[in-house]
Point group: C2
Chain length 250, copies 2
């Protein structure tokens, strides 16, 4: 097949494709997730919208720590997910390869329903632990959150801000001994740990598990399951040929 | 504890923290992954560096599709991961909440060792399928790649570019019937499917599994396992208190 016949083929079927895509691609589950009515499990969203979720970016963060949870949480009914950093603009990851855009600066954000602090490599984690502006902002926002959360070594940043004193938490596996030795924190070897309104997740990919748990707290178990289906998440992906029609929203 | 005593506490321990962090946080596994020597399993990296990996961004992509694999692949020895789009600059996701920076435009990239095409919501997928510039670039780059890969509905974009004719592939669960009905493709309900030098992944989070498989092809199984440990990935996370010292690089 030449490029020109391929393009003709593509054009010829584009209308059909659109119709079929509307019916199948990404829609059953995503529609269920984004249009599910707010049931009793929906914890008092602000009038006119769902939860306002803010994710703190700082130099050297680990890419999946904020993006895994953002993928999950941005699919909740009416939710907004905002990337926040000391200054607006591109913030670069630990490996230096990728940059994510911070849409708001710290001084533009006074209140959040949910705060998420990602982890970083050594350099980024240490810098964040010693960044007074960052820690002050975290403490200030935490006073009014419904949930304050972290992924990976983000729990060390929460601890440096004094938020984990006397609490149980989890963190990146290789940082657990350090967290316990340095702060008044008891580490549990779990994917995520809830202590009051603080939820900490283990390393990197565990942020996805934590976000699905948080989704169930914010929007109910059925919506969380619809999102899990939408992102086809293992270890028990609900994706089989038998469930193609998608779940029934709760 | 007041803020001022907390800051004093933080400052007092900062040197100790740095030393301890160097020894523990994110280091055993990450160091193993990033400094492991290129062994026999290392498939002929270009002189002076590891594989050049390019990830195509386009309007409406699903955030985790490129960022999950980027988290994995950017940790391979000497690898570079570059986000690429029609134009340099911020490219926004399907939900509109997050933007990732494209560091290179299509016309700045002629060769890649690995190309990865992420998926998108309906609108983004249909637009990409009908974007002749994008499809031409994909075909041109594919001629010289070692591996051409996709996540989620990215396989529909590869199919629209004519790359999947007569092949086995996988895609987002809700798009499988569409892909088979529209193109000469046989869909397998698996997390990832390799057909020659093309590797397709199922929905969203399956990109992480595919990237770990690709990591083993590019850098050997031991390095891939070290990266899996570094991102603490389920379903079988190798993170236990017993393995804190990290794996031995291969």
């Amino acid at each position: 097949m030449t490029d020109s016949t391929r393009t003709a083929h593509s054009t010829r079927h584009s209308t059909t494709r659109r119709n079929v895509l509307r019916g199948t691609v990404a829609t059953a589950a995503l529609a269920a997730a984004t249009t599910a009515p707010a049931g009793p499990a929906h914890a008092a969203p602000p009038a006119g919208g769902g939860p306002e979720i803010g994710i703190l970016l700082y130099d050297g963060f680990s890419l999946l720590d904020p993006t895994g949870p953002a993928e999950v949480l941005s699919r909740l009914p009416g939710a907004t997910v905002t990337m926040i950093a000391e200054r607006r603009g591109a913030v670069r990851t630990d490996t230096g390869d990728v940059a994510v855009v911070a849409e708001r600066s710290l001084d533009e954000v006074d209140r959040l329903d949910v705060l998420l602090v990602p982890g970083a490599g050594n350099r980024g984690t240490v810098a964040a632990m010693n960044n007074r502006t960052l820690l002050d902002w975290i403490r200030r926002i935490h006073r009014h959150t419904r949930w304050t959360t972290s992924v990976c070594t983000g729990s060390i940043v929460l601890a440096a801000a004094g938020l984990l004193d006397g609490r149980q938490a989890t963190t990146y596996w290789a940082a657990a001994e350090y967290l316990e030795a340095t702060f008044d924190v008891t580490c549990l070897p779990r994917r995520h740990v809830r202590s009051g309104k603080i939820i900490t997740a283990a390393g990197v990919s565990a942020g996805i598990d934590m976000a699905l748990y948080l989704a169930s707290l914010l929007a109910g178990a059925d919506t969380a399951k619809a999102v899990q289906l939408a992102i086809e998440y293992d270890p028990q992906p609900p994706s089989t040929r038998a469930t193609r029609a998608g779940p029934t929203p709760g």
